[in-house]
């Protein structure tokens, strides 16, 4: 198999296109899909999740291709994320968390370079170019925000062993970056239909960035199908959890107002429920919605460039759920899969409508939650991380990692990339474990050194690089591990603080890579992939100097030094004489004469008065 290199990128793609046309091969070059998945509504409002998928070989965006070629990038992953995935309610993450990033912007790439310096240089080129392409501050990923993960990431593409040796993985995060419409526009421009038709025509910045959680992902990797030449594959994915109530809020009246009392849905089981007292129910069980409402605009037919065999819209709900679509749409139900149906659109430009009606819980044929939702899968691991301690001097980080499985242990790599001004003390790292099952169930925490299997630690250097901490851990079934360490907050130079210094500094999310365990490798006949999850980012408050008075401080300190120096200098250099000896300066003499004269005068007048 010919090894794929970037220099042959453009010719190779041209060849593929002509080949596809000549033989009319059914092989998909580009497809896109919208996956709708109603989530259980334990939270006040219902959520949906919409992963978009766009596999693209033929229409590889040239702007991105040239950047990758110039920067020697073999594989690229870029994420723009907002919000927090509520794993307790929403269950396992879409794509096993492999297509999401921490809050803000996250970028990691495998670069081909002879040395670390060359890799750093190429990384700089890459971040600066991508910064322009995606209108994001990626150029702020400098050496202090770049790490070289050792255990956490694995290349997803097919790389020949010869190039693997020279590949450098670099990873950078901008937790403070606010993902917004200006990042969506270039994202859509990369698609063949540019958001004018097909699934991507649904995307609108107002709705996307109003989501409870959203993640835009771009993955570029080389793939080598067996017996064929290697090609470069780009996958663009958007996952979002929409709050139906909020999405249905009319555009001309977007300000949330409390509903009038007759529209309030009260929990009547509360003892204090009365005509004038209402405890709002936390579960609005049945929901009705349609595609236009929640996205704010209709889906404009099919993208003509997609593979016609791939259904563009799928919905993951039980077959008992009523779903209405517009005319001419073909519904596909996979025989074995009770919880999914897909829709093939006619190849015209007509708008596609999809609507899920209200399903009454009472009446002739009452429906249950099981008719409406697919219960989400339990994630392999729950993780949360928080800051502990008080004051702006010392602090701590505590990560709570729970393995919910009753019988399988989970092994994962926990990676933190911390800013340099968070001086962590690795010797204070402690893992304590609490078992929910077994002989010591419910017992208090106890130290356990067996949890942590391996630590990779690269300490920070002031103003040069951040801390990189990777911990491989194994949690037994039904246990919770509390991992904690101390750190010290640094006072920075006053020019290093952002304009709103007292807001605090964002600390990037911890990346958890769950390693495939031996027992699950064979499930589904596929090799088990690694799955990821990320904690939320943290807000770190640092002590601040007074920004208003650099001049005052310079003056005060200099005065203090001048006083000390001048005082000592005087004492060392000048000669001692008696109080009444030696030559006097003219001024001193005049002053003494004046003082003496006044005393004489006073004496005189006193005498006169007495006389």
């Amino acid at each position: 198999m010919q090894s794929f290199s970037f220099s042959s990128l453009i010719p190779l793609l041209t060849f593929l296109v002509s080949f596809a046309v000549a033989s009319a091969a059914p092989a998909a070059d580009y497809h896109e899909q919208l996956n709708l998945k109603p989530l259980p509504q334990n939270s006040p409002s219902g959520q949906l999740q919409f992963p978009f998928e766009a596999h693209n070989f033929r229409f590889f965006p040239r702007s991105l291709g040239q950047i990758l070629q110039h920067a020697g990038t073999r594989e690229l992953h870029l994420r723009f994320s907002l919000g927090r995935w509520d794993a307790e309610t929403w269950g396992a993450r879409p794509w096993d968390g492999t297509k999401e990033g921490g809050t803000g912007v996250e970028l990691w790439a495998w670069l081909e370079a002879e040395s670390d310096d060359e890799a750093d240089h190429k990384w700089l080129t890459l971040t600066n170019a991508l910064s322009g392409l995606f209108c994001a501050s990626l150029n702020f990923i400098d050496s202090t925000r770049t790490t070289r993960p050792v255990m956490s990431f694995r290349p997803e593409g097919d790389h020949p062993n010869t190039t693997m040796a020279n590949m450098h993985l670099l990873h950078g995060v901008l937790p403070r970056e606010v993902v917004c419409t200006e990042n969506l526009t270039p994202f859509l421009k990369l698609l063949p239909c540019k958001g004018k038709a097909g699934v991507s025509s649904l995307l609108d910045g107002h709705k996307l960035f109003d989501a409870s959680w959203q993640s835009m992902a771009i993955d570029v990797k080389p793939v080598c199908p067996i017996g064929e030449e290697c090609v470069l594959q780009i996958e663009q994915t958007i996952d979002m959890v929409l709050d139906i109530e909020r999405s249905k809020r009319p555009r001309d009246n977007p300000i949330p107002r409390p509903p009038p009392s007759h529209e309030l849905k009260c929990n009547t089981t509360k003892p204090y429920h009365a005509d004038d007292t209402c405890f709002p129910t936390d579960s609005l069980n049945a929901q009705e919605w349609n595609l236009n409402q929640i996205f704010g605009k209709p889906m404009l037919g099919n993208c003509p460039l997609t593979d016609p065999q791939t259904p563009p819209v799928c919905i993951q709900a039980p077959h008992t759920r009523d779903v209405f679509t517009s005319m001419g749409v073909e519904e596909l139900k996979e025989p074995g899969n009770e919880n999914q149906r897909c829709y093939l659109l006619p190849s015209n430009d007509e708008e596609f409508h999809l609507s899920l009606p209200f399903m009454p819980r009472d009446g002739d044929r009452p429906k249950t939650d099981a008719d409406e939702f697919v219960q989400p899968a339990t994630p392999l691991l729950y993780a949360e991380r928080s800051l502990t301690g008080h004051g702006q001097e010392h602090g701590g980080v505590q990560a709570i990692l729970t393995n919910p499985s009753p019988d399988a242990e989970v092994e994962f790599v926990y990676m933190e990339s911390l800013p340099w001004f968070m001086r962590i003390y690795l010797h204070t790292l402690k893992a304590r474990i609490s078992h929910r099952t077994g002989s010591d169930a419910g017992q208090t925490l106890h130290d356990d050194d067996d949890v942590i299997k391996e630590i990779y630690y690269r300490p920070f250097l002031d103003r040069q690089r951040g801390t990189q901490l990777e911990i491989r851990m194994k949690i037994p079934p039904g246990s919770t591990v509390f991992m904690a360490y101390d750190f010290e907050k640094t006072i920075l130079r006053y020019t290093e603080y952002p304009p709103d210094a007292n807001r605090g500094f964002d600390v990037a999310a911890a990346v958890i890579t769950i390693l495939p365990s031996n027992s699950t490798t064979t499930t589904g006949g596929k090799a088990a992939r690694m799955s990821n999850l990320r904690t939320t980012s943290m807000l770190l408050n640092l002590p601040t100097p007074d920004f208003s008075m650099p001049y005052n401080v310079i003056i005060f300190t200099s005065t203090c030094i001048a006083l000390a120096f001048g005082g000592l200098y005087n004492i060392l250099v000048r000669r001692f004489v008696g109080r009444d000896e030696g030559a006097r300066g003219q001024l001193g003499q005049a002053a003494e004469e004046a003082a003496g004269g006044r005393a004489e005068g006073q004496g005189q007048s006193a005498r006169e008065a007495r006389g």
Partner: protein
Amino acid sequence: MSFQATAGTTGLFVVAAALRLLLFTAFPGLPNLLTGRVEISTPVTSFKRLQEGLFLYNHNVSPYDGGVYHQAPLLLPLFSLLPDPTIYPIFTYILYTLVDLLSANALFKIAESGEGGASRLYSSPRKEKRWSGYVVAALFLFNPFTIATCIGRPTSVFTTCAILHAVAKALSGNIFTSMLSLSFAAYLSMYPLLLLPPMVILAYDRTYNYKAPKSLAQLAGMCTLAVGVSLSLLFLSSYALTGSWEFLSSTYGIQLTLTDLTPNAGLWWYFFTEMFDSFRSFFLGVFWLHLSSYTPALTIRLRQQPLAVITLLLGIFAIFKPYPSIADTSLFLSLVPCFRHVFPLLRYSFVTASVVLYGTFLGPAFYHLWIYAGSGNANFFYAITLVWSLGLSLLVSDLAFAVLRDEWEVERPEMRGKEIRQI
């Protein structure tokens, strides 16, 4: 250990050691509390950072490839020998108590030598009025600053001990031991290197042979050579230990460039926090030049009293060095009682004492207001560091005045007790 002490001092040492061990064991939270105090632990001496460096060293990560550990490499194997301080803290406590006792023993010898009142070239008219070594050592051992330092366990106690031993050995005429001790101090903290000129003069005066006088230049050359050789040996062994030279920039570079701006009792941190970036290196140069300018000036002016030069320089370092702490203040204050004879000549002793006490009590309070309560800002603590520095510098210049006036009264005995002025 050989304590050349009387039964009285043995009793003193036992009481001081018992007090320290009692504080260590009766208040188990106290050592870690004091270790976290910025007045005691600085980035270059903190015990917590030492533990972190030790942890990294024991796990084969270079502690100098990180931003936490800025202390000398030889401390690592020393502390590796001790059992883990989190499990068996008593060994660390004993070590720090012993170091304090060693310092007190050196101080005892310094005070007993009488060098404060009478050196080779100069004999004070008031020299009978002095405190015995017993009193001086007791003032050191029961100084609250010293005790707090000992409990907080910064590595500056080793520097203190080395400096005091260098002085004590120079007084007893062991030039090479003295220079070795000074090299150790310089190796640990760098700034004691500035004590070399007065130390050479002190050693010269104490070994002066009237029958066959050696030249000062010759001795100075020998001493410089001795310090140079021992420092190079220390550096080479550090290199052998860590496998690279990066400890130099991490240990001494940080004192020169002040990259870590953790608050402390000194003047540098806030100044360089607020400094404009383009002037940073200029002012770093100015501050270091200022700090080193005192050594030649005092050495020349107080040629007859080298111990006074050393004392005054230690006072100046306690104010103006990049990362001062109360450990440096306690070292300075421990040598001041050797000049008991000039105490009547101090003009501002009440003001100085008040200002120092004011700073001592308000410093932690204002730091709390800034960092924890949030009701004050950085200027609160900064103002207290200014007051503290001014108070100490007043004490230094007042002591310099008293020593010089005492010298002057040898020429002019009739001026004793009269008012004077300087022209």
